[in-house]
């Protein structure tokens, strides 16, 4: 492997990892703070991708479709939490698994009714539709670099939100002791609704960002769902910082696994996870 190829794979791994982080951070927040195992999280990623596809068609601009899609995703999150998820907080985790599994089926079928079962493409926005030349034969698309940049900005924003703001303080407190926070006069129900909506919006935003490079297709949510769970477990459940480290680890392991051990490429991610968990049974940043 020469240096240019290595660089391209490195960038791909980082970009994939950062995208996984967006999806996984919402999942880890919803689990860590609300205690809800959300299997439908992959569906929210799919919803985002299809929103990007349909809104870009409707509005005619990818740049306007992004904020519109985020608003719709937040509304979807609020509605789902109010209708269904809030009834699950005091229930066994396995009922959360069952309900959100039912949601996966419903989202897949709604997708099929609304958009059919074909693969759709979303055009890369013209502003970013060019490549940087690395050597005579190799180049790297700028859109992917921009994706990584946006993901990094969001990661920084989330760190700031959780560690530095009053809302973040309430969120952290709510994850430790729901009753006590409630007793102090904070509306925990509203707080949970916000966290859920934030998680949905992050996953949908990841789907929208990925749409131009990964295209939009049936079952795309299921593929990222399992990998996102792998990420949050490696990172330690509830830890956003852990999710970032684990997402980058998994992104790089997946990309380099395909280059270095093509015959067992599919296994690399799970080998990494099994190794990490046998070494640290609560993940890299999990609390003992």
């Amino acid at each position: 492997m020469d240096f240019a190829t290595f660089l391209i794979q490195l960038l791909n791994g980082v970009q994939y990892g950062l995208l996984l982080f967006l999806i996984a951070s919402g999942l880890t927040l919803i689990f860590g703070i609300m205690g809800v195992i959300n299997l439908a999280h992959g569906s929210f990623y799919m919803v985002g991708a299809y929103l990007a596809f349909s809104l870009t068609g409707l509005i005619g601009s990818f740049w306007l479709a992004l904020p519109a899609g985020v608003v719709l995703a937040v509304l979807l999150g609020i509605a789902l939490e109010w209708l269904l998820i809030r009834h699950l907080y005091r229930r066994d985790h396995l009922y959360q698994v069952l309900l959100t599994y039912g949601l996966i089926l419903m989202f897949e079928e709604l997708r099929s009714i609304l958009f059919g079962d074909d693969v759709h493409a979303v055009a890369v926005p013209a502003l970013l539709n060019f490549s940087i030349r690395l050597t005579d034969t190799l180049s790297y698309p700028v859109y992917r670099l921009a994706m990584s940049g946006v993901c990094l900005l969001l990661a920084a924003g989330m760190y700031w939100l959780i560690a530095r703001t009053r809302l973040g303080m309430m969120i952290r407190a709510g994850s430790v002791n729901r009753e006590m926070v409630q007793a102090l006069g904070i509306n925990v129900g509203l707080l949970y609704r916000l966290v859920f909506a934030l998680g949905v919006a992050l996953a949908a935003f990841a789907g929208m960002l990925a749409a131009p490079v990964a295209s939009v297709y049936p079952g795309m949510g299921n593929q990222v769902l399992i990998i996102s769970f792998v990420v949050i477990v490696i990172g330690g459940i509830g830890s956003v910082r852990g999710a970032l480290v684990a997402a980058l680890l998994i992104g790089l392991a997946d990309v380099f696994g395909q280059v270095v051990f093509p015959q067992i490429a599919g296994m690399t991610v799970y080998l990494v996870m099994a190794a990490v968990l046998l070494w640290r049974p609560r993940g890299l940043f999990g609390s003992a």
Partner: protein, 318 residues
Amino acid sequence: METPRALRVLLALMLVGLLLFPLVGERFYIQYATKIMIMAIFAMSLDLLVGYTGLVSLGHALFYGIAGYALALAGGDAAVSLWWSLPGAMLVSALAALVVGVLVLRTAGIYFIMVTLAFAQMMYFFIRDSEYFGGSDGIYLNAKPTMSLFGWAPLDLGNQLHRYYLTLALAVATYVLLRTVLRSAFGRVLIGIRDNEPRMRSLGFPTFRYKLACFVLAGALAGLAGYLTAVQDGIMNPEQLGWHRSGEALVMVILGGMGTLAGPALGAGALMLLELVFSIWTKYWQLLLGGFIVAVVLFLPGGLGSVFARRRGGAGHG
């Protein structure tokens, strides 16, 4: 937990119904009923882990699939005898469960869910990407196992009706076996571990060994289901080990009611029958099935089986 009387009556009626069903059912429905009973075996074996021992596995299809592959590799082209291939395939699953169990039982809770998933996914990709196992196309079984014993062949597995009755007999046997195991001292210890593992340990029970034995038994019974699937479908492909298969079984267990043996069997029947009915009725059956599952969670907190339970204060399991 005692099986409620109403549920026992229902089970007895179902058994009679299943014995008589081939008299009236068309070939397609006999085939479908066979598949339901196979999934019922698989779901019951998973419930031993999930409902009775508190070990939520999302990788149970590993032991299901590996037994099917063992049969496909041993008897892909030539017919093999059921009398050694069935115990052999279950032994393969049991050994796999022993190795995986030693590793995964070090973790607990959601981490256990994920590590079991990790091992199953590793095996899934290993088999899918390997020439030896036929890659993603899988392996065809061109000949069904024979059941001849010293020249006497009670059943011909090439015949759908015979496969139906073999599966029914094995499903009942699995139910009886698990019921016996759970009523024994061993079963009581498993339930004790589910409810309070530190207490069981301080009472002097080597809980790790109990959990491992339980994991191996559940793996072997999953192997039975996988073997029957290979016989029934005549093909084994990697999807049978995928997380969807494990997830489906878990859904059957929770839907029917964890911690009862009849519940998972009921869950398997309900899920697969609804899938059939909805898909005959409408093209958009997934929407209805998903809606049904959501409704069960919201309105039947103990799963489908709880309809039959008499109301006594508080649900009995965690």
